[in-house]
Symmetry: C2
Subunit: 208 residues, 2 copies
């Protein structure tokens, strides 16, 4: 049975702790080699999936015209979002995506099943959750290769699907901006800016 040493356990922990959600001002234009992209995708598809259904699908977008249409949708939705935070002067100064700056965008979909899936009969969301596990694997593997990922959630899934010409059997789970970075911040930007406070274990763990 494969075991991991303390050094290897700490390597994983360091990767996890230094992973960041990367926004546009930190992406570099350096192209991503196809072999490395396939390496991080390989980590993604070894995520757990309900009933081994592997319901993840990855649409890889490098086309500037497509990115621009997605970006316009972001601008529209972000203007609405900003209005909800009107007391927060900080919101308007935040850079919340890197759609155009990142050399690669990945739209990650959940493919709805054509049959009954083991483990998904009671909790229907398990399929989407499997896709999220794949995204987290992708994110960590990317970080280990010095590649940043930013998850953009200020987009209407329906509109994204329309722009990308995706049919009704697929649900958008995540829209990711991917590229090499000038830096990974020491801490999450929203922590540094005081938007939210970092929670500790005692805030979120309860033993019964």
């Amino acid at each position: 049975m494969k075991t991991f040493s303390t050094v290897e356990q700490n390597t994983l922990k360091e990767i996890i702790l230094s992973r960041r959600d990367v926004r546009g001002h930190h992406f570099s234009k350096t192209p991503l080699e196809r072999a490395i992209v396939e390496e991080i995708l390989t980590c993604a598809i070894h995520a757990p999936s309900v009933g081994f259904s592997q319901p993840w699908r990855f649409l890889m977008i490098e086309n500037d015209a497509t990115k621009e249409r997605i970006y316009k949708e972001f601008v529209k939705q972000n203007a609405k979002a900003q209005a909800l935070f009107k007391s927060e002067a900080l919101y308007s100064r935040l850079k919340l995506e890197g759609i155009q700056e990142a050399p690669l965008n990945i739209a990650v979909f959940y493919k709805k099943p054509e049959k009954t899936i083991l483990g998904q009969t009671v909790q229907k969301k398990m399929g989407e959750y499997s896709v999220v596990c794949a995204i987290q694997n992708l994110w960590l593997s990317a970080r280990s290769h010095g590649i940043g990922i930013g998850w953009v959630s200020i987009l209407r899934p329906k509109k994204v699907k329309k722009i990308l010409n995706i049919d009704k059997n697929y649900a958008l789970v995540g829209y990711l901006c991917v590229g090499y970075v000038s830096e990974f911040l020491e801490k999450p930007e929203l922590e540094t800016l005081g938007w939210e406070t970092k929670k500790n274990l005692e805030d979120v763990v309860q033993w019964v």
Copy 2:
């Protein structure tokens, strides 16, 4: 900026590829040291979260009576699930949980926000997705320490919440069985048994 060597990149990949969904027959009774449980929880709470909301809450269950009530709910729901796979003789032979065998169960909840969350204004599911990212970090860190995790999804969240006396501000995302293991299988059991075929990159990745 912290960079990772090829050896370190491969360590992460090995942990990702050797992680398994562990069921009851593979858990050992060896108790989990509190310090190691806190180590893997620390990896969990360094997952990405929408608007840095950190909406994850972990309920740690070691009590046998509580586990038994959860197990009974599993048995009831699994009988219903099995009926949906009646043509599959294999289903009835599958061990699909390790609730009582695992020394620790963790119920992972999404705490609904009390205010508007940055990045969650358009896609409401982002909060739950953040919790799933935390579970995946937990799973990988556990694997690096030789600890197995099994995610049990054949449970009604409402019933689990009732058994655990959880209020309406929390949604169950995952119910996890956690413990040291006798082995991590070489491949996912459902792959070995031919329940589903492993998908390759070309099956799930499309470049546009």
